[in-house]
Structures are given as C-alpha cells and as structure tokens.
C-alpha cells in the first residue's frame, strides 16, 4: 500500500472522486493554477480543467453559496475556505442555508456539499491563520462536522463526505499536512461518518480527542502507561453528530474521562461530551470529567514563546492524565 502524507491523502481523495464522478468539482481561492496555498489541489487544474477546478474571488459567502447553488442542480461541489479563520463570512451560508435546505423544504431539496478548511495552530499563523472554528458548527442539526487525524481517514472520510447526501464541514489540521504520513490505498474507499475510532484500548481513563491532538494524546498515553496508568484513546473523527455509543461505552468501562481539544475550553465540544457523560453515565464516574483545551484567548500569538505556551502537547496531556489518575 503506498505511503502518503496527510495532504497527499486529501489530494488523492479529490482526484479519485473527481475521476469517478463527473459531478464533483472544487472551488475556492487559489485552488486552480496555484494549486491552493497549501498545494492540496496541486495538479488538479491541469488534470480536470478550469471548469471543474475553479479559482474564485475572495468571497467566502460567495464560494459556499455558489457551491450550494450548484448542489441544487445535482452537482457535488467541494468548496475550499483558505483558512478556517475565514469561514466566518460563510457561516450564514453554511448554517442558515446548507444545513437547513433539506429540513426547510421537507426533503424536496437537498444540499450535498463539502466545505474544506485548514485549521489549527503551530505554524506561526498567529490570530488569523490558527483558529479552531469547529465549535461554530457543532450545534447545527442538518450539518456534519468531520475532522480526520490520519492520512487513511483523511482520504476515506473526505470521499464519504463528498458522497454524503448532506452538507459536511471538513476541517484539516495544518500541522498534519506534511508531518503525518501513513498508508493510503489507491482508488476510492470510504470511512463512515459519525463513527469514532478507539485508537488505544485502556481500562482506567477514557481520553476523547480528534485531529492533531490525537497524536499528542497517544504519545501521552504511552508516557503514562509506564507509570501504570492505562488510558483508552478515542478518536472522535465526526464531531457532529457525535458517536454517543462509543463515548458512553468507553467511559462506562473506565469510569474517568478526559477530553482534549485545541479549540478554546469554553464552548468547545468538550463541554458537550462532558454533559453527555454526566447525563448518561453519571453512576459510572469515579472522578469529575476533565477537559484539557486551549486557553480562552482568541488564538495563538505570533510570538514564539507565547505560541508554544498556548499549544497543547503530549507533556501537558500526560500531566492531566496523571492528575486524573491520582484523583
């Protein structure tokens, strides 16, 4: 099986799906001749032409809105927002339009679009090239929010998202693009939306996370394993709708839960998971549910030291695990 970077896996998904399905096209800023600012769509313009790889004006609402319009005519658009920080101008289109089209027309219209957006810190992106904006969308029925953590999942989940009959917001962690490699098959395959993956089994603490934080969490789990702390690590993969069964089954088994995300603490998905656990697994708890998240400041600072201080890492996660184990 060929090995690909996370970025190549996403590109491979786009190429394979565009080859298989003529309805699929991509649109966004700089996605054409340049191949995207991260080069995710590099070569697609040459392979599929200007008609299916469309350079758009700097108009996020226009990009997503145009995708919605094309989907109404039966196409399968994949819109790229250059950075998740700039998805805000398109929020009305995603939440008020795409997410509600099926519901508001009682199933007469559907809106199968994918909105891709690179997110996350750690590349000196400062306030406006670093944000985690997934929580904007994780309380929107009608929408699906997907965040892959491995190259294999990145391709399989993206193809599943394109084929899904409903709108999907697909966040890609920028730090994974070139640092994460893994086996990624040629050709189309899907990883089902809405299902979490247990990446490491354990008996003492359930750790729920996604994206880049999965890898830091797995490292942390190995660190504390030597100290006799047995951690189960669950990769959520789809943040909305959540895989409640997997989350609850895990915490009923371990009795302790830690949620790790790069998004801000307040209003992040961790709060929802914590509420879910206290509602449905209260009597299994042997400690308060803990969240480890980025501090409640707008985003990481440009200053290197402050950026490092802002970022979560394996040591910080290991520390939280030790604290929870000692409770």
């Amino acid at each position: 099986m060929p090995e690909r970077t996370f970025l190549e896996a996403i590109r491979s998904a786009l190429i394979d799906e565009m080859t298989t399905d003529q309805r699929v096209f991509v649109l966004g800023q700089d996605v054409g001749v340049k191949g995207g600012v991260f080069l995710v769509t590099d070569g697609l313009y040459q392979q599929f032409g200007a008609c299916r790889v469309i350079d758009m004006p700097i108009a996020e609402a226009g990009i997503v809105g145009a995708a919605i319009g094309a989907a109404l005519h039966g196409l399968r658009p994949v819109a790229e927002i250059q950075f998740a920080d700039y998805i805000q101008p398109a929020v009305d289109q995603i939440i008020n339009e795409a997410a509600k089209l099926r519901y508001r027309s009682a199933g007469d219209w559907t809106c199968p679009i994918v909105v891709r957006a690179p997110f996350g810190s750690g590349i000196h992106g400062a306030l406006y090239h670093s944000q985690s904006t997934e929580a904007l969308f994780t309380s929107t029925p009608g929408l699906k929010v997907v965040i892959p953590a491995t190259p294999y999942d990145a391709k399989g989940l993206l193809i599943a998202a394109i084929r899904d009959p409903d709108p999907v917001v697909f966040f890609e962690h920028k730090q994974l693009y070139r640092t994460m490699r893994g086996e990624v098959p040629d050709g189309c395959y899907t990883v089902p939306l809405g299902t979490a993956a247990v990446r490491r089994t354990g008996r003492q603490i359930s750790l729920f996370t996604y994206g880049l934080m999965l890898h830091h969490s797995l490292t942390a789990a190995e660190q504390v394993a030597d100290e006799g702390i047995d951690v189960e690590v669950v990769d959520l993969r789809t943040l909305y709708p959540l895989d409640r069964e997997t989350i609850l089954a895990s915490v009923r088994n371990t009795s302790k839960a830690l949620i790790v995300h790069e998004d801000n603490l307040t209003g992040g998905i961790g709060g929802e998971i914590s509420a879910l656990i206290s509602e449905h697994a209260f009597e299994y708890l042997d400690a308060p549910v803990r969240r480890l998240a980025s501090p409640d400041v707008p985003a990481t600072a440009f200053n290197e030291a402050l950026e490092a201080h802002f970022m979560l890492n394996a040591d910080k996660i290991a520390h939280a695990l030790r604290e929870l184990a000692a409770y």
């Binding site: 609402a61 319009g69 009305d92 339009e97 027309s105 009682a106 219209w109 199968p112 409903d166």
Partner: protein, 351 residues
C-alpha cells in the same frame, strides 16, 4: 414605457406600432387575461391571509400587493420547471405565476403539513417547489443571490445550454455582502443569471435614500460588469420585455443582467407592521394610483379584452375559489408530532 440604461436592451421593435402593446410583444389576449386573473387571485389570497392572521390561523403574512405586475411579467420570461427561479419573501405572485395554486399558498400560510413549500416548517413567504424549480430560501436577506449564481455556475460546468437562473430581491438586499459577492462572481464568470430588484422604496421602514447610496439600483450593475436596466415595475409589459431580453442573453451565453423594477408596496411590510408610522400620509393616499392590477384591468378594458360584467364575474369566481381553498386548507390536520424530526438527514441510499 420602459426606461433602458442600455439601448441595446430595447424590446424587439414592434411589427406594427398600431397594435396593442401585448400583441407587439407576442402575447395573446388570453395570456393577458390569465395574468390579470392570476394577479387578482394572488391579491385575494393576500387579503385572506391577513384575515386569517387576525383569526389566529395564519401567524405571519408578508404582502406582495403592488408587486404583482413585476412578478407576473418576469414569469412570462421563465420556463417553469426548466429555468431556476430563486425568489425572496415578497414573491407570492411569482410562485403562483409559475404554477403554484391558491391552495398551495394558503397551506403554506397556515403552516400545514401538506404545504408544498416546506411542510409547515417555514413561516409564510418562503416559496419553494423543486418540480417548478422554485428554490427554497431562508429569511436571511440577500443570501439566496449566490445560490442563483451557483446554479448558473453548474450550467457552465455541465455544459448545458439554453437554461438560466433568475433571482429576485428588494433594494434593501443590495446592501448585503452576499449580494455583492454574488454579483461579483456572476460578473467575473459572465454566468447565465438574471438579477431582478423589486425596488419598492422601503426596507421595512427605512426609505431608499437611506439604504441605497445611488438613485437607481440599476446603476450598481456597472461595477459588476453587467448591464443594468430600469423598468416601471407596475407595467407588466415593460417588465416582460426587459426580463425576456435578459433571459435570452443569459441562455445564449451573453452573461448576466440586473433589472430594477420600480414599484410601490401597497401594504405594510407584514402583519406585524404599521406603515402609517413611517410613510407620509400623502404617499399612502397616493398608493391607490400605483396598483398594477388596476393598471392591467384598465388596459384590458381599453383594448376590448374585458368589460365590466366579465370583470365582475371573474372577481366572483376568484372569490369563490379562495373561499374553497381556505376551507380545504383549514381542514388539513396538524402533522404527527414525531414528524418534527423528519428530513434532518438523508440516507446513504439517496446519494
């Protein structure tokens, strides 16, 4: 009496200037009478919805009174079920002109489960029918413009010819970012889409001179690389001429057009509004002169298409029709409560 800012968009020259205007445009007497009946039908539904709102049977009414000629005029240029129409909340007359019925509109206004627009989910004014290619919209002003642009982009991608999208909005929407973005994309790509502004001079209570920085919305078109046209929106023939030209341009690959229909809102914005609070009394008194139904009725009588007896008979028949439709809509029971959760997500099978 159309006013073009672009001379190339003048209606086709009349074969015989002596002919009535509808004949010059290739419209039959029957088409004119059907439009008149349709406009009156919509007005009756409008009236009925206001009545129902006071009985607590319709919780929201938004009027199309005064806009009927603009919407019926455009509808003549649209092939319903082929071209896509992306309307806004003021377009009840358009929905009816494109094929929806009084009953459809009353079911929508009363929020019934058989409401074809939304199954009772959307408040009144969100017209939709996939069969007629009337696209469902939200209540976010201006956000639907980009959907029409996206549809036009889809025709470009699939290579389909002889098809266009047309979208409607008030002059208030032209302040919205999404409107600007949609116009920009359409202009850059020269897409097969027509933009119709129904300028009634008010964004709810704010008069046009406080919301639009130029006298004519049509002049904004120049900034987006497309022609802008001004027409009298109470003159159904002027609107039709402009819309027909614009749709033909779009379908033949000549790019987008912005049409500004200048007209008057005859009633308050909605049943929750009192326009005497912000419109001068003299203006309100003068509104009766701008009723597009009166205009078309007078035209029909002048040209011998209609007489007083026939007009009265038509009105009686239309009243009986709306009464029957009201009764039928009122009898539709509420949906099962579990249906609240229907149509949230599709199944993998439909993909």
């Amino acid at each position: 009496m159309s006013m073009q800012t672009d001379a190339s968009l003048a209606p086709p020259p009349a074969n015989d200037p002596a002919l009535p205007r509808h004949r010059q445009l290739g419209l039959s007497d029957e088409q004119v009478l059907a439009a008149l009946a349709g406009m009156q039908r919509v007005r009756n539904v409008d009236d009925r919805l206001w009545q129902l709102s006071r009985q607590g049977k319709a919780h929201f009414v938004i009027t199309s009174a005064g806009h009927e000629a603009a919407q019926f005029g455009c509808a003549w240029a649209i092939r319903a079920g082929h071209d896509y129409s992306v309307p806004y909340y003021r377009d009840m007359a358009l929905a009816l002109a494109l094929g929806q019925t009084s009953l459809d509109l009353l079911l929508h206004g009363m929020g019934k489960p058989t409401d074809p627009a939304s199954g009772g989910r959307q408040m009144f004014g969100h017209f939709s029918s996939r069969a007629l290619r009337i696209v469902s919209g939200s209540s976010s002003v201006g956000s639907h413009i980009v959907h029409a642009v996206g549809l036009a982009l889809a025709f470009r991608i699939t290579g389909e010819q002889d098809i266009a999208a047309i979208t409607f909005f008030g002059e208030g929407a032209t302040s919205e970012g999404a409107w600007h973005e949609g116009m920009t994309i359409a202009g850059v790509q020269q897409l097969p889409v027509v933009f119709v502004c129904e300028n009634n001079g008010y964004a709810i209570s704010v008069p046009a001179h406080r919301e639009v920085p130029v006298r004519d919305v049509a002049t904004k078109a120049a900034g987006y690389g497309m022609p802008g046209v001004i027409v009298d929106g109470t003159d159904i023939f002027a609107v039709y001429a402009a819309a027909r030209t614009a749709m033909q341009r779009a379908r033949s690959g000549e790019g987008p057009t912005l049409i500004e229909c200048k007209l008057h809102r005859l009633r308050p914005h909605s049943n929750a509004d009192d326009h005497s609070k912000y419109r001068p009394a003299a203006e309100l008194t003068a509104l009766a002169q701008h009723d597009p139904i009166d205009k078309l009725r007078d035209y029909a009588m002048q040209h011998g298409l209609l007489n007083v007896e026939r007009w009265q008979a038509m009105q009686q028949q239309l009243k009986a029709e709306v009464d029957a439709a009201t009764l039928a809509a009122d009898q539709v029971p509420n949906p099962p409560l579990e249906s609240l959760y229907d149509h949230l997500y599709g199944s993998a099978a439909e993909a």
